[in-house]
Symmetry: C2
Subunit: 140 residues, 2 copies
Amino acid sequence: MSKKNIPRPTESELEILQVLWQHGPSTVRLVNDELSKRRDVGYTTTLKLLQLMHEKGIVARDDSSRTHVYRPALREQETQGQLIDRLLEAAFGGSALKLVQQALGNRHTTREELDQIRDLLDNIDPQAKPSATDTPDELA
Amino acid sequence: MSKKNIPRPTESELEILQVLWQHGPSTVRLVNDELSKRRDVGYTTTLKLLQLMHEKGIVARDDSSRTHVYRPALREQETQGQLIDRLLEAAFGGSALKLVQQALGNRHTTREELDQIRDLLDNIDPQAKPSATDTPDELA
DNA sequence: GGTGGCTAACGAAATATTTCGTAGCAAAAA
DNA sequence: TTTTTGCTACGAAATATTTCGTTAGCCACC
């Protein structure tokens, strides 16, 4: 029993998850206020969504007091990872390279961010030299 | 009139688009055969999907002969770019950096791919040295 | 010139997603 | 205590997505 029921948040659900990830445990009111900053959405719509997410196990809730408090039941990184996997399969034929190229290519990215990615690359593969000769794969 | 009706392919539609991008103009039969390699899907299901995609303008078709031939009406790169934008907004709060970190971090990527990404980075920002001092932004 | 094999066109069901209105209850305010 | 306010639960509509069955036409072949 490693990974079975992988919840697949919908777009609306992700919107809410982001609020919860960012603000921590929140009431319906708070979540709705946040969503309302971006678009027009009714209170009961947000409530219903949170209730459905609760049923699906996407969020947990504390209903000990009259005003319930919801919190994410999915970890941000893990969820993001799954979403990338989905997109990778759905649109990039599984090639992470293409995805990254696309993400960096057609987009305005600051030099600072580019540097951070370079650091990341170096951490993933400390052997490889940035741009010049490759280290031989086999050790004699 | 720059960008208005941006078609948003569903997951099934993307599956089909990938086949078309990969194989070029194709008959329903061919598309369905490809899809069938991966999962169980009826011929008329694929047909219907292609017809709907045609209505939506996601694919174009040549129906001059009895057996229609479909081809993508969306460019692969452009579509992939939009999908990344979507995901960026939906799950990463707009941070391309986080997305790339996630894409590269929790995944098995070959050294070759990592090197290609390094090249990409150098191309995007030819000024920056891989890790050392930054070039001053302003010219005196 | 009838039959079998393909193909497109519909119509429709099953499911998933999004959005609210209404009702009932509890707590706070008047 | 009455009124007002705020919250949850529930039901249901509107829409979008996925999946097929059925029907009818075309073509090649026997």
